[in-house]
Subunit: 272 residues, 4 copies
């Protein structure tokens, strides 16, 4: 039936009439909340605040709900829709992809999540030496009974312990902490703006390139701005409370403590 | 001030009067939902269905809420409480740990999560050859305004594609899938029971040791029981719906498809 | 000393004369094999076989050796060199980057490793439906006493068990396996060529999009081409032995067995 | 053929004469360096320096070489051998397991690797408050043409930057670093001894529980003992050079820099 690994003509013809098992009726009477594909890698383009198109790598989850009377969804259609939209990720393309998912999979609700590395050009604080810093970012969107779009981004920061500073004759332990935020907005907001709000709430931001004068600057900046994980989540909450574009947020901070092998953690969630 | 890396007497005395920064009042007026420690490894003992104590490794998250007027929580107390409870994880110890967290951190609510490897002795289906299979399992509990305890476990299974079987002249693609369940119960239920319910819903269970007669058996068993991810979540839902001890559940299946590099996924969540 | 988070003029001036600790002599008389930076993310461009520039995300390790008499290397220079080379990854740029590392860090040897996702456009075997498949790939290069460049790529494939097929009345267990190859070549060779050689040695390749006729095709193809991990490494070894451009290789296969929770593994290494 | 998921008598009888595909001769004339199983979880017991048996979770790799004339190895025998040795990991059991692997798989060489969490009881430096700290440790052994056993352990430590301390008016950036060591010894050496040597070479060790006087102590200790990654690997190398029991070592340090999102890294390898 195969010649040199290629299907013969007969197979191609036969294929037309292959049964569609997914479409057969299901008697179990159990609807499925979400079904589809996960960990789909696709090259994507993202518009950044500098108005430039960034080419990066997206990892997608695409899901729909499935009514009780269908045995299965059609997995290949998720990939076809992704392929037809050519990897554009924007406020325009996501609603279109969700709408195509609902239509071509005859679903009431569609869900999309995409994660990617967003690069931000970042000058050192004193010398101005520029380098690129990659942030783990993404979007989670749904359409149907509820329409929503949530941005998320992980911002690594430096945190310096207020207690250690206060009680020690010199020095203070500090470390890398990871701030994970989820934000829902009523108006356009750049991921880069969110990153800046979080970095402003930290003991000091991280940088791709630091020369000695820069290292002196950030070391002293961190020592002057001690932050517990509790301070970090509160300072970010204050910034997000003030920004009228933000309607809902979640802020998590996880400090990779330099005095312990476990992590310190705090979270605040709020719907305005 | 230090001699040979040991603090001098002066330091030890001075320590008595070290200021407690965490306890200082906070003016920002922002309560924190949860704060504490994450990724704490501790040796634990778990009672299994065979009525034997299993020694395993726990990874803990311990959190409390923090009212607006406190600057910080006291992180070391979480570790002290864990240490005093000597790594026992049971329906008796968890409420006690939660109660101690609330008391000693003067918190309205306490949260605990622990993950561990649970070993189950498993005979091969034909030869009866016994081996140990390790499941990633755990508990998530809270006490305060809401009291709850949720079990979770990841059960790897074999799934064989009904569509592939139907349309192909011979063979059918099959693969390892991971079923992640969360279960809340009104009465005692063993994690081993949940594992059995999930394995019964699969194309075939996985085994630690299989001799050739066993391999023949599970190969044919899988071929006779084809399952989409949609079938998997529905079959588990049916089993959990029938069990009156289960009051709430979430079932996720992620198939590491052997024909794709991405995964097929489905989820059903239900509160009875 | 800081106003609004910006260093004052005094600081900027003082910075000019900051001591260079790294440059101070070291009395311990211990040379360091390799020192530098790891997990540096940078946007990169890679030329693919279709003669198109792919924009992707690189994760770099950049190292040099350090003679016994220096206390430390200058970490920021690694980042500056990466930044100046603007993320181009090619047979031309890597030797240039290595040469700059050796020169500006006054090192005898320089080492570079970069990992990225390489996308390959892949048509389904029957319908020809095209999708993108992302492979985890990379390069490892060194210059100095030894000059070498090694490509690596992870190719997910389907493997169907010959034993299971032979002993079972119907069906055969199959699964996703991961083939990791490292290749050193004396002449130009595309990563895409290596991927094709490995996929040809598998039970069946994986695809981004498969419609029903395609699924029938790959299911039957896998059933007709059973492969143990032992067969996989041998078939790849035969293909690499025949290719005169390949001077050294390592082939590892790890099968995520669909009948076990552990993996089957085999490796062959050879310098011609 | 199956009744209620159990194989019928016929199947059990038929099984006796199932063909052994693995044993069939192979014509490709390619020996395989190593073949076997990976990621096998098993409950194990390890003897610690306090002369107590620790129950922990092992993850095993078990491999043998395969001569050119055999098609495949017998995967289930690896699991049977592991099961028969009942999870004891010691200087006595490993040679026995390796010897059984060689014998029952008729192999010239056998290889074993096991990773586990080793708990060490650790008092705080001032208050003496005791907690458990879990280290990722393991052994890698082989028997046949070469007999060897290599211990490995990852020790998280605090490192404080000498450059940052020197150039800054106050404070110094510090962070968690991970020291990974591999050690081959000619005489018995406890993993706990290796951990102590590495911690003594750091700016400060990490602890499970620290009260305020302890936190003051380790903060000041770190400030007094600044260490680059270069210093860390050299200090560990000096300690390992002095210990006559150690015949070969590799020391890697990876600092999760609190001023950068990338890591600083250094490595020294030496065979005495």
């Amino acid at each position: 039936m195969y010649e040199n690994g290629k299907p013969s003509v007969e197979l191609a013809v036969a294929a037309v009439t292959l049964p569609d098992i997914q479409k057969t009726p299901d008697q179990r009477n159990i609807p499925i909340d979400r079904v589809g594909v996960k960990r789909v890698k696709y090259p994507i383009r993202v518009l950044d605040r500098a108005n430039e198109i960034q080419h990066t790598v997206g990892e997608f989850t695409l899901l729909v709900d499935l009514p009780a009377h269908h045995k299965g969804t059609h997995m290949s259609r998720f990939l076809e829709i992704l392929s037809e939209n050519q990897g554009e990720v924007s406020v325009h393309s996501l609603p279109r992809i969700l709408s195509q998912l609902r239509e071509r999979l005859t679903a009431a609700n569609a869900f999309l999540e995409v994660d990617f590395t967003l690069f931000v050009s970042k000058p050192a604080p004193v010398t101005g030496k520029v380098g690129m810093m990659g942030y783990h970012a993404g979007l989670r969107a749904r359409a149907g009974a509820i329409d929503e779009m949530v941005m998320h981004v992980v911002i690594p920061v430096a945190t310096l312990c207020p207690c250690s500073k206060e009680i020690s004759a010199y020095g203070a332990h500090n470390q890398r902490g990871y701030v994970t935020i989820e934000v829902e907005a009523t108006d356009h907001i750049w991921i880069e703006e969110l990153i800046e709000m979080v970095e402003a709430a930290s003991s000091a931001p991280l940088y791709p390139v630091l020369k000695r004068p820069d290292e002196k600057f950030v070391t002293e900046q961190a020592y002057q701005n001690p932050r517990f994980v509790e301070d970090m989540v509160r300072e970010v909450a204050i910034a997000f409370n003030k920004d009228s574009r933000i309607s809902r947020y979640k802020v998590e901070v996880e400090n990779h403590e330099s005095i312990h092998d476990h992590n310190a953690y705090a979270v605040i969630e709020r719907t305005k």
